[in-house]
Amino acid sequence: MWENLMLGFSTALTVENLLWCFVGVLVGTVIGLMPGLGSTTGVAILIPLTLGMEPVTALIMLAGIYYGAQYGGTITSVLISTPGEAASVVTTLDGYQMARNGRAGAALAIAAIGSFIAAIISLALLMALAPPFAQFALNFGPVENLAIMILGLITVVSFAGGSMRKGLMMAAAGLLISTVGVASGFSDARFTFGNVNLLGGIPFVEVMIGLFALGEVLHQIRVGAAAPIKARFKDMVISRKELTKSGPSIIRGSFIGFLLGCLPGAGSTLASFMSYGIEKRLSKNKENFGKGAIEGVASPESANNAAANANFVPTLALGIPGGGTTAVLLGAFTIYGLQPGPLLFEQQPTLVWGLLVSFFIGNVMLLVLNLPLAPVFAQMLRIPYAYLYPIIVLTSLIGAYSVSNNMFSVWLVVIFGIIGFFMKELDLPIAPLVLGLVLGPLFEKSLVQTSALGQGNFGILFQSPIAVSILIFALLLAVGPTIIGGIRRSQRNKSKGLTHV
C-alpha cells in the first residue's frame, strides 16, 4: 500500500500537476461563490477544459474544482447566508451568525481546517478500507435506506430548539413540496396544475437560492440597514481556544461524514445535518448553537467534506457513482478512455492513486490559499448593504437561470424568495424545509421499494438488523434527551424527598 501511496505522491507532486491543481481550486472557488453553481455543475462545465491534458493531471484539476466549489459555497454560506449546495445549508446556521458577530474570518478558517483534517482522515480510511466499506454499503438496500431516511428526518428535532412543532411542520412542508411532479415508478403527475414545468418537480437548488439568498435580502431591507460589520483584523484570525474547542467536533464530523458518504444518494447532506444535530446534543453549551457556535461550523463542514471523499468508495470499488459529482467524474473517466469498474485499481494504479492523493493535495491547496484569504473575504462585509444586495439579487437570478437555462427557475427563486421572507418574519425555520425537500424523493423511493419487497408489509423493516439498529438510534436521538432529563429530575426529586424525610 505504501508503494501505491508513493506512486500517487510522485504523480501528483510534479510542477505541472501542482499548477493545475492550484488553477482548479481557484476556478472552483469562484464557481462555488455563484449561487446555483455547486461542485457538480462546476466539474461538469469544466471537463472540456481538461481534454488536452494527461488523464492524471485532468483528474487532479477536476478534484481541485470539486473542493474549490464546495469551499466557495461555504464562503457565501458564512458571509451572506447563501449556501452553494444542500450540504452547506447547515453551515449558514452558525457560520452566518459568526459573521454577524465579526468572526467571519474564524468561521472560514475553521471550515478550511476542518475540511483538511476530514480529507486526511477519509483518505486514510479510503485507502485502507475502500473494498470492505463498499461491501458494507451494498447491504444498504431499500429497507435500510428507509431507516436512514427516518433517522435523517428525525435530526430535524434537534434543529428546532424550543419550537419543535415549527421544525416538524416545516420538514413536512419540504416533503410535501418534494411530491410535486411525476415520481418515478408512478405515472401520475401530482400537484402540477397543468403546468408542464412542474412535471419534473420543484428542484431544491432554486428553492434554496430563493429561501436563503433572496429571502435574506428582503428580510434585511425590512429590518433596515445596519452599520457594516467592522471587525479588527485580529478578530478575523482564528484563536487557539477556538481551535481546541473545534477539534473533537471535526473528528466526529469526519467519521459521520465518511460512514454516510459511502451510501449512494444524499450522503453529504444527511452527514452535515446529522453531525450538527449530534454536536448540539453533545455540547455543554447547547444554547450557543444557532448563535455563532464554532463547533456548529466545524462539524458539518468536516462531515460534508469527508462524505464527498467517501462518495468515491462505491465509485472506485464497485464502479457505481456515489453522488452527483462522482457520477460526472465517472463520465470523465470514459472520456479519457478508462472503463470505470472494479478492475480500475488493478488496471490503472497510477491514475487511481494519483487521484486519491490529489484529494489530499487539493485540500492542502485550499488550506494554504484560504487561511490567509479568509480575513480578506470577510472584508466583503464592509461593503454597505445598499450596494451589496442588488448584486446578490443579480447573481441569484442569473445563477438560477444557469441551473437549467430556463426562466421558470428564475420565477421559482422569486416566489420562494418571497416565501422565505415571510418565513423569517414568522420565525419559521428554513433548514428543516430544505432537508425535507432533499430527502423527500429518496424517502418516497425507499417507501415504495420497501412496500414492494415486503409485498405491502412494512414488517420487513424489523427483519433487517441494520435497519433495526438505525431505528433504535433514531429513537434515542429523538426522545433520549427527554428521558434522560426526566430520569435526572426524578432522581433529584427522590433525593430531595429523602432529605425531607
Binding site: R165, R222, P390, I391, L397
Partner: protein, 183 residues
C-alpha cells in the same frame, strides 16, 4: 393574569392556520392519486402522509402560540433565540431608524418597491433580454430605492453586470435569453 394575544402571535397563528389548510388540501388531493393500490404504496401515499403531518403540527402550533402568547411575551427573548433560524437576534422595535435614518414605514415601502422591481425585471426579460432588464434593475434600485446619484449608480451597476456576464456568459457559456435589441 389575563392572557393577551399580541399582534405578532396572532399573525403567526394565522400563518400556521393557512399552512394547516394547505396540509388538509394535500391530503384530499393525495387520496385522489390513490393511497394504497394492490396492497402497495401508490402515488398519493406520501402526499397524504406528509400533508396530514403538516396539518397536525400546524394546528398544534396554532393552539400553542395562542395559549402560550402570554408566557411567550414574557419570555420573548428566549423564544427568539431558540428559533435557530431567526437571523436577527431580537427584532428591533418597529419605529427604530436605521443608519440612513429611515423609519419602519419607509422600509416597508422600500421592500414593496424592491419586490415590485424584481417582478417587473423578470417580466421584462423576454422583451428586453436578460442583460438589459437586469441592468435596468440595478440602476433603478440604486437610484429610486436607495436614492443614490445617477452616475456612480450606473458605474457600480455596469461593473457588477460586466463581472456576472464574464463569468456566466463568456466563461460558462450560459445562453442568457436575448430580447428585441438582440442582446
Amino acid at each position: 393574569m389575563t392572557s393577551t394575544i399580541t399582534g405578532a402571535n396572532l399573525r403567526k397563528a394565522v400563518a400556521s392556520l393557512i399552512i394547516a389548510f394547505i396540509g388538509v388540501a394535500a391530503v384530499i388531493g393525495g387520496f385522489g392519486y390513490g393511497f394504497i393500490e394492490d396492497g402497495r404504496i401508490a402515488a398519493g401515499f406520501l402526499p397524504v402522509l406528509v400533508g396530514g403531518a403538516m396539518a397536525l403540527f400546524a394546528l398544534l402550533d396554532v393552539v400553542g402560540s395562542l395559549r402560550n402568547s402570554e408566557k411567550e411575551s414574557t419570555l420573548l427573548e428566549t423564544v427568539h433565540i431558540e428559533a435557530a433560524e431567526t437571523l436577527e437576534p431580537v427584532a428591533e422595535p418597529e419605529s427604530d431608524l436605521d443608519i440612513y435614518g429611515r423609519s419602519g414605514k419607509q422600509r416597508d415601502r422600500m421592500l414593496l418597491m424592491v419586490i415590485g422591481i424584481i417582478l417587473a425585471t423578470v417580466l421584462l426579460v423576454p422583451v428586453l433580454g436578460f442583460v438589459v432588464a437586469f441592468a435596468l434593475m440595478l440602476v433603478v434600485i440604486a437610484v429610486v430605492v436607495e436614492r443614490r446619484r445617477l452616475l456612480p449608480s450606473i458605474l457600480v451597476s455596469a461593473i457588477a453586470l460586466a463581472a456576472a456576464y464574464g463569468i456566466f456568459v463568456l466563461f460558462l457559456r450560459v445562453p442568457l435569453p436575448t430580447g428585441i435589441l438582440g442582446i
